[in-house]
């Protein structure tokens, strides 16, 4: 009950989590830089040119792109939930999508194991956050801005849709039209997510489903909460993957592997009676 009344503190907690994870992410890398030096470089850049380059040209764009990827995934995931209505996880599209991602992952792992050179496909297919540039960050930010504008003006319609198609219609929502429009927006935002972190990252579209289970479906709050949650998860996954595989395992593979159990849970939730 209290979780509804006090949503703002919850959002603030999530912001704090992001700041902490973001700072941890800045600490990571082949060259050791102490926390104090990083803080110093964030607040007064340009003191030490080497640290400046590492932080501001390499680690910071990467971190921001992680946050932006998470945001894009959260947006398209929540919109997808909204468009397909209450029974999202029974949605064949989502199931087949995950299957597709798994097949791509399996094939690429197979090819890597047998020594094929997939480097040219990496950015598109698996998504790598290494060598992130500011350009990429700005382009992603542009799409997010567009997505946010849609969210601000359409959350009412999404909320109405949560109460079923008939109820939405009696509230004056042009259901078919709105669904088509939002679907187009979802596709564009998903495309932007593929651009930032690769096709396999789309497995992260599942995150908002869990946000919805935990926090309910009021879009006014669900989108900010899923953005913050998804961004944290992407940062966390990248930190993990850099700890486990210092040679840079593409983020997409990690995302696909780590989100697998979530899909299994989501698909079988009803059957398992969880």
């Amino acid at each position: 009950m209290s979780r509804l009344k006090n949503r703002l503190p919850f959002i603030i907690y999530l912001l704090i989590v992001i700041v902490i994870l973001g700072f941890l992410s800045l600490l990571m890398g082949p060259i050791r830089i102490s926390a104090s030096k990083i803080l110093f470089s964030i607040f007064s850049p340009g003191e030490d040119p080497l640290i400046y380059v590492i932080i501001w040209q390499i680690r910071m764009p990467r971190l921001l792109l992680e946050i932006l990827s998470g945001t894009l995934l959260a947006m398209s995931g929540s919109l997808l939930l909204g468009i397909s209505g209450a029974a999202m996880i029974d949605n064949i599209a989502v199931k087949s999508f995950y299957l597709l991602s798994c097949v791509i992952a399996a094939i690429s792992v197979f090819l890597i194991v047998f020594g094929f050179n997939l480097e040219s496909l990496y950015p598109w297919l698996l998504g790598s956050l290494a060598q992130t540039t500011w350009d990429k960050v700005f382009i992603a930010a542009l799409f997010i801005l567009a997505g946010l504008i849609v969210y601000v003006f359409y959350y009412k319609d999404l909320n109405a849709l949560m109460f079923g198609e008939y109820t939405a219609k009696t509230l004056g929502v042009e259901v078919k039209l709105i669904r088509m429009f939002l679907f187009a927006v979802t596709i564009i935002i998903s495309a932007a997510a593929v651009y930032t972190c690769g096709l396999l990252c789309l497995t992260g579209l599942i995150f908002p489903y869990f946000v919805r289970l935990a926090a309910g479906v009021n879009y006014k709050y669900m989108i900010p909460v899923s953005i913050l949650t998804s961004a944290s998860i992407v940062i966390l996954i990248d930190i993990f993957s850099r700890i486990i595989f210092p040679t840079e395992l593409p983020i997409g593979i990690m995302m696909a592997v780590l989100s697998g159990p979530f899909y299994i849970y989501a698909l079988h939730r009803r059957r398992l009676g969880l």
Partner: protein
Amino acid sequence: MEMLKVEALDAGYENNVVIKNVNFDADIGDFIGIIGPNGCGKTTLLRAIAGLINISNGQVKLRGKDIRRINRREIAKRVAFVPQMMVPTSGFTVEETVLLGRIPYIGRFAFETDKDYREAKKAAEELKVEQLIDTPVTSLSGGEFQRVAIARALAQEPKILLLDEPTSHLDFRFQVKVLRMLRRLREDKLIIATFHDLNLAARFSRKLLLINKGEVVAFGRPDAVLTSDNLRLAYKIKLEARKNPKTGKIRVYSS
């Protein structure tokens, strides 16, 4: 001109006409109960009046204007619909649920204004759920949530309020409570509700519309509609309608 006029209405779903040749009209201040056996088209008729489904023949007119020529947002300002078994959706408080009723009044590029909050509060007060305003709807009882669902419809400031089985999942106390609240609203609205319980329908409706297999069997005052002949025609079993000499209300008994 009457608030609602239904003329030779055929309506239903794709290739399946459920409602056939329904005629009736109604005005502000009426409380019409729609009765009839399961699957006779009560809900379909309500949906047709709300402009939700395909009208294959005839017309539904609001103040003389064909509902198909009014855009959805304008319909929403005049006609509100309380579906049967609306499911409480997690993540919404009572206030946020009632506020959904203000959607037709909020512009595309605008947000809820003070007036919207005031109207939502007024609607909640009318259904006596104002003390629950910050409660999540998922923790309400069935009777409380039904009142919230009605308040959501009232926030639309409708002239016509349609309710699909407003009492079906309520215990007896709440059935009477909800219907009394609806009766109080009647003065400036037209209320149309479907009922399973003939006695509740007879007790609270000013007029009854008895349908069977999508066609009107009888329409009029409860004592004129609830005759043994009409009931046998619709329900296929022997039912007896008796008037209580003290209250003048009609009661149906199975015999």
